[in-house]
């Protein structure tokens, strides 16, 4: 982890806090006016919800993930962040699944527009490396222009990010292949690594340094820093999945007319789960509704999915009729077109789409099949972001 982004004046770049001090961190953020969002246990899964104290966090759980399955087990070591990522991602907060974007009211033959309230300032506690990469992918989509999404921009500017370096990888994780994790590299205010009784904290911004100044801490020893690195390296070494990313966009282009899409199309239910759990998927629809009197209209933005048949409805009929064509759209977009559109791949290797696919379709396996069909590129490599 480079220390160049830290502010050496306010605090040393690597510091140690006691685990219970995390509560002070949450309190300090709340005093600063942030609503803190962190991992909690809900309906047998780890999800991100508003938290107000340390007790709210899901303590002592490990997730067991496989293609099409997710299960939680007790963690003997009682760690705070031994699980990896759950069905939800932070996109639910920066780019909510349902959001009113404006209201309009008829009044004396005129129509008056109303902007929605300013979104709250959020602090994310527990952003994994792959998720941080996903946020940066969505930044490119919503902020790079020519147009900018104002609601996303407002939420994004205000957010405080406490990253967590994974010390354990899941069975569907492949961030190492995608070059996104498990080491957290940039774009956070604070980054935590969970040790035995403490967290190693790395400061990534002025905001982060200012907050840490209010909180009891001490300088980290060389040994503690080395131990943190060892733990994250161990996670990197235990990735459940890999994906060869060599010339992926070219592979996708070569595969456009592959019979393999038909084969996946037979398994895929077009349930759209993969797009909903994916932290980079950004498609939405706009719905216009009125109240009963017809005097007030609201435009609502809702997550949509390229797996829905109505998605391509043009001049009275859908264009991607077969499920095969919709799966092809999804995968060739993620691993191909995305690079032309936004300069990065649309997959960060979090593995959610594998875990939450009800029939266990695994994109790493599909890519491997396509590679066998269309010839392997010579040098196995990972993309650099």
């Amino acid at each position: 982890m480079p220390s160049s982004t830290a502010n050496p004046k306010a605090s040393p770049p690597q510091i140690i806090i006691k685990k219970t001090t995390l509560d002070d961190l949450i309190q300090a953020l709340q005093r600063e006016g942030y609503q803190v969002i962190g991992p909690v246990l809900e309906q047998e899964a780890i999800v991100y919800r508003p938290v107000t104290q340390l007790k709210d966090l899901a303590l002592g759980w490990i997730d067991v993930q496989e293609a099409g399955s997710y299960r939680l087990e007790r963690d003997e070591a009682q760690r705070f962040f031994a699980f990896t990522v759950g069905p939800q991602s932070w996109k639910a907060y920066l780019f909510p699944p349902r959001e009113e974007i404006w209201k309009a009211r008829r009044e004396n033959g005129r129509i008056l527009m109303e902007e929605p309230e300013t979104p709250p300032r959020l602090a994310f506690l527990g952003v994994r490396a792959c998720e941080l990469a996903a946020i940066h992918v969505q930044d490119r989509i919503f902020l790079q222009g020519p147009y900018v999404q104002p609601r996303y921009a407002r939420r994004r500017e205000a957010v405080f990010i406490i990253a967590v370096q994974c010390t354990r990888a899941g069975n569907t994780c492949f961030c190492v292949s995608m070059g996104t994790g498990p080491h957290v590299r940039e774009g956070y205010d604070l980054a935590l690594t969970e040790l035995e009784d403490t967290f190693l904290v790395h400061i990534g911004s002025e905001k982060g340094a200012a907050l840490m100044a209010e909180i009891p801490h001490r300088e980290a020893t060389q040994e503690e820093v080395a131990e943190a690195t060892r733990r994250v390296d161990a996670a990197a070494a235990s990735m459940g999945r890999t994906m060869d990313t060599t010339e992926l966009p070219e592979l996708m282009r070569q595969s456009l007319e592959s019979p393999h899409w038909e084969e996946v199309g037979k398994r895929c239910l077009a349930c759209a789960n993969c797009t909903l759990v994916c932290p980079t998927c950004f498609c939405f629809t706009l719905e216009d509704v009125t109240d009963l009197t017809g005097q007030e209209a609201v435009r609502v933005r809702l997550w949509d999915s390229c797996f829905n048949q109505e998605f391509t409805y043009t001049a009275g009929r859908p264009i991607r009729v077969s499920i095969a064509s919709r799966y092809r759209q999804w995968l060739t977009h993620k691993l191909g077109w995305w690079v032309e559109q936004f300069g990065v791949l649309g997959c960060v290797g979090c593995g959610r789409c594998i875990t939450w696919c009800p029939v266990g379709i695994d994109l790493t396996a599909e890519v491997q099949t396509l590679r066998h069909m269309y010839g392997r590129a010579s040098s196995p490599a990972t993309v650099s972001r």
Partner: protein
């Protein structure tokens, strides 16, 4: 000649965001049994300008929003002219609006026809059905700056004579000595004395009026018609990179965010709707893209 699509004009219009501005319908005219033209007046003091080939998102209060190309002259952009075919709930609501009603407008969005690059060349415009609407601003431009262009040829095909858009205007244009207008229908009643057949069958008649190697072609219509037209233009020697097409896809945002309009790597709303043919040819032959 520069073959990349014309870039977006400056994003300076108050209508180019996520909030519609309400324009007033000042005139409505029936074109065909299911197609109407609306003239929309912006609120006092609101500027509006566009490039031929661009579109607006039109919103009917509480009903919904759809992309509709602008079909009036760019040199005289206000009131804003839209020709709309009723195919769904929103377009039906739009064609039923009356003078005095309000329409939400966002835009203009998208790329435009390469009219600057076409200067000094023959310009062949090939339109199918409602595809004439996004091409009409290009025609207005060519005729307004007539001396800047060589031959101007319009080939227009509709399903039946009743489906011909802008019939009076077509007749007027056909009477001009400085342009060629050829019209065909897929099916004609017995009284129809004009040409019958798909639009590509007009090329034999149009042959004397343009020099393929020095021609820029602007094409808009159903995708299959554009494919056959491009093939015919290529066969006659029009350079591939001088052919432009305007594509249609489902659109929700018009700004490259919602993902609906994707066509391979392209967002039709911001990378198009007007594309140089070589940029999209390989995708147009794939099914269900």
């Amino acid at each position: 000649m520069n073959h990349s699509p014309v870039p977006h004009p400056a994003l300076s219009m108050p209508t180019q965001g996520t909030f519609p501005l309400f324009f007033r319908v000042v005139r409505r005219q029936r074109e065909t049994p299911d197609t109407y033209t609306l003239w929309l007046e912006p609120p006092a003091g609101t500027p509006f300008a566009f490039q031929p080939g661009q579109f607006n998102m039109l919103y009917v209060f509480g009903v919904g929003e759809v992309p509709i190309s602008i079909s009036g002259p760019a040199h005289d952009p206000i009131p804003v002219v839209h020709t709309i075919r009723a195919v769904g709930a929103v377009t039906r609501a739009l064609v039923n609006l009356k003078p005095g009603d309000l329409v939400g407008v966002r835009g203009p969005f998208g790329t435009s026809w390469p009219l600057e690059q076409a200067q000094g060349k023959d310009v062949v415009i090939v339109a199918g059905g409602i595809g004439l609407a996004p091409l009409r601003p290009a025609l207005y431009h060519l005729l307004h700056h007539r001396e800047a262009y060589n031959q101007v040829v319009l080939l227009y095909g509709a399903r039946t004579p009743r489906d011909l858009l802008y019939r009076r205007e077509l007749e007027r244009w056909r009477g001009r000595f400085d342009m060629e207008v050829l019209v065909t229908v897929d099916r004609g009643p017995r009284e129809w004395r004009g040409h019958v057949g798909v639009v590509t069958t007009l090329f034999d008649l149009a042959e004397p009026f343009f020099q393929p190697a020095n021609t820029v072609a602007l094409v808009c219509g159903p995708e299959i018609m554009m494919r056959y037209t491009a093939r015919e233009l290529l066969r006659r020697g029009v350079p591939e990179e001088h052919i432009y097409v305007s594509l249609e896809r489902n659109m929700k945002c018009g700004q490259g965010f919602c993902g609906h309009c994707q066509f391979g790597p392209l967002f039709i709303c911001k990378d198009g709707a007007v594309f140089p043919y070589p940029q999209v040819a390989h995708l147009m032959t794939l099914r269900e893209v």
